[in-house]
C-alpha cells in the first residue's frame, strides 16, 4: 500500500474512532436515564465500538433472589442496539429484538445463573457506533 493511501486510511480510521469515543461518554450518560433510584449500579460500564457486522460478548453472573436491569444504548434515540442473553448452556433467555429493541429490560432471577450477554447494532438503524451496556440490581 502506498504511503499517502496508508495515511488517509489511518486518519479515516482515527476519525471514526474519535467520533466513537466522544459518542460513548454521551451515550453512557443518556443510558443512565433508564435506571431509577430503585436500582444500584454494579459499578462498571460495558462499552464497545461496533460495526454492523460485529457482536460484543461478555459474561456475567446473575444471583438468585435478585432483580436486575440491563440497559443497552447506542445513539441518541432508543432501540439502536439489540441485546440477547443466553444461559450457561446456550439457551436463549431473552432478546430485546422480540420487543421492539427495548432499551432496557428487567430480569427477576429465582436461582443464580451464569449468562452470556451479546449486543450488536440493529443494521436497519445504524452501521457503526458506540454500544453501551449498563447493569444494575434492585435494592
Amino acid at each position: 500500500m502506498k504511503t499517502p493511501t496508508l495515511i488517509i486510511l489511518i486518519f479515516s480510521m482515527l476519525a471514526f474512532a474519535n467520533a466513537g469515543l466522544a459518542q460513548c461518554d454521551s451515550f453512557a450518560e443518556d443510558c443512565d436515564e433508564h435506571f431509577s433510584e430503585a436500582y444500584i449500579s454494579d459499578g462498571q460500564e460495558y462499552r464497545a465500538l461496533l460495526h454492523s457486522d460485529q457482536t460484543a460478548v461478555f459474561e456475567s453472573t446473575l444471583f438468585g433472589s435478585n432483580t436486575y436491569r440491563i440497559a443497552a444504548c447506542s445513539g441518541k434515540s432508543n432501540g439502536n442496539l439489540i441485546f440477547s442473553i443466553y444461559d450457561q448452556e446456550g439457551n436463549l433467555i431473552f432478546t430485546n429484538e422480540e420487543y421492539s429493541n427495548a432499551p432496557y429490560w428487567d430480569f427477576a432471577v429465582s436461582s443464580t445463573v451464569n449468562v452470556t450477554i451479546e449486543a450488536h447494532l440493529d443494521p436497519n438503524k445504524s452501521e457503526s457506533g458506540c454500544a453501551v451496556l449498563l447493569i444494575g440490581f434492585k435494592k
Partner: protein, 303 residues
C-alpha cells in the same frame, strides 16, 4: 474476517492507528461466530448470525458482581456486625504504590458498604474520608462529581442511598480510569472490592447457608478476576494472581448443578422471569480451604 478490538477510551492516536492496522492484518482476537442453534420457547434461534464476527472483550470488560450485593446479603441473613473484619482506615497511610492504593480503594469501598449496612455513621464518615484521600492520590477524585461526594456525606445514615452512591462513585472512577488508559488500576479496584466482599461473606458463611451458597456462586467471578490480574508485572501482583489461581482450583472442586427452565416474559412489566434452577454444594472442608486462601490473598492486599 473482520476484526476490531475493544477499546479503552482516549487511546493515544498513533497507538490506536497502529492497533487498527494490525488488527486488520491479524484477526487474532476475533472469532467467526458459530452458527449454533439454540432452542428456546419451542423456537430455533441462531445464537449469532454466521456472518457476524464476535468482538471479544480484552480482559478489562469482564463483569464482576458488585460487592454491595454481597454485603446486602449479609444484612439480609441477619449476621452480627463485626468491625474487626474490616481493613482499618489507618492502614491507608501504608499504601504508597499506586497498585496498592487501587486494590485498597476497592477494599474500603466494600467496607463502607458494610458499615452502611449496620448504620455505623461515625466509622462510615472515616472510611469515606479514606476513600476520598486515596481517590485524590490516584487522581480519580476530579472525575467523580463533587455532587456524589456531597450526597455521600449528607446521606450518612441512609443505607439505601449509600448503597446507590457507592455504585455511582465506583462507576465514575471506573469510567475515568478506562478513559485514561489506566485499565490495570480499574481492574485492581474491582479485584480489591471483590476479595473484600468474599472475605466478609466467608465469615458470615460459617453461620449462614445463604452466604455459604453465595460464596460457592463466585466461581465465574473468580475466573474473571484471575484473567483481570494475569500479566501484571509487579511482584506482589504476580503472587496475588498465583494465589487467586490456587483459589480457583479449590472452587473447581465444588459440586455444581444447573437445570434450564423456560423463562417467562411479562411484556407489560418489561420483565423476564428466569426460572432455571441451580445449586452449589460447599462442604465444611471446602469452605475452610476457601477461607484460608482468601485470607492469604487479602493479607497480600492490605499489608
Amino acid at each position: 474476517m473482520n476484526s476490531i478490538k475493544f477499546f479503552t477510551l482516549r487511546v493515544s492516536v498513533f497507538a490506536f492507528a497502529a492497533a487498527l492496522v494490525v488488527s486488520c492484518a491479524e484477526p487474532s482476537t476475533t472469532e467467526q461466530a458459530s452458527n449454533e442453534k439454540t432452542e428456546t420457547s419451542g423456537e430455533e434461534v441462531d445464537s449469532l448470525s454466521s456472518t457476524r464476527s464476535v468482538v471479544k472483550y480484552q480482559g478489562e470488560i469482564f463483569s464482576i458482581p458488585s460487592p454491595v450485593q454481597s454485603v446486602m446479603l449479609i444484612k439480609k441473613a441477619d449476621i452480627r456486625y463485626n468491625e474487626d473484619l474490616l481493613n482499618e482506615a489507618s492502614n491507608s497511610q501504608n499504601y504508597i504504590k499506586e497498585y496498592k492504593k487501587a486494590l485498597n480503594l476497592g477494599v474500603y469501598g466494600t467496607d463502607l458498604a458494610y458499615l452502611a449496612n449496620f448504620e455505623n455513621n461515625q466509622l462510615s464518615l472515616k472510611y469515606l474520608k479514606t476513600i476520598e484521600s486515596i481517590s485524590s492520590d490516584l487522581n480519580i477524585q476530579s472525575a467523580v462529581s463533587q455532587d456524589i461526594l456531597e450526597r455521600f456525606t449528607s446521606n450518612i445514615g441512609n443505607r439505601d442511598s449509600l448503597y446507590a452512591l457507592n455504585g455511582e462513585f465506583y462507576r465514575a472512577g471506573y469510567r475515568y480510569l478506562k478513559e485514561n488508559e489506566r485499565n490495570e488500576l480499574a481492574s485492581l479496584i474491582l479485584t480489591g472490592g471483590w476479595v473484600e466482599a468474599l472475605h466478609l461473606s466467608l465469615d458470615a458463611a460459617q453461620n449462614s447457608d445463604l452466604l455459604r451458597n453465595r460464596v460457592g456462586q463466585q466461581r465465574s467471578a473468580l475466573n474473571s478476576i484471575v484473567k483481570l490480574t494475569e500479566n501484571m508485572e509487579e511482584e506482589e501482583l504476580v503472587k496475588m494472581n498465583a494465589k487467586l489461581e490456587e483459589l480457583r482450583d479449590i472452587f473447581e472442586e465444588l459440586e455444581y448443578s444447573y437445570e434450564y427452565q423456560k423463562p417467562i416474559t411479562d411484556k407489560k412489566e418489561k420483565t423476564t422471569y428466569i426460572n432455571s434452577k441451580s445449586s452449589v454444594t460447599v462442604t465444611d472442608d471446602q469452605l475452610s480451604k476457601i477461607r484460608q486462601k482468601t485470607i492469604e490473598i487479602r493479607n497480600l492486599i492490605i499489608s
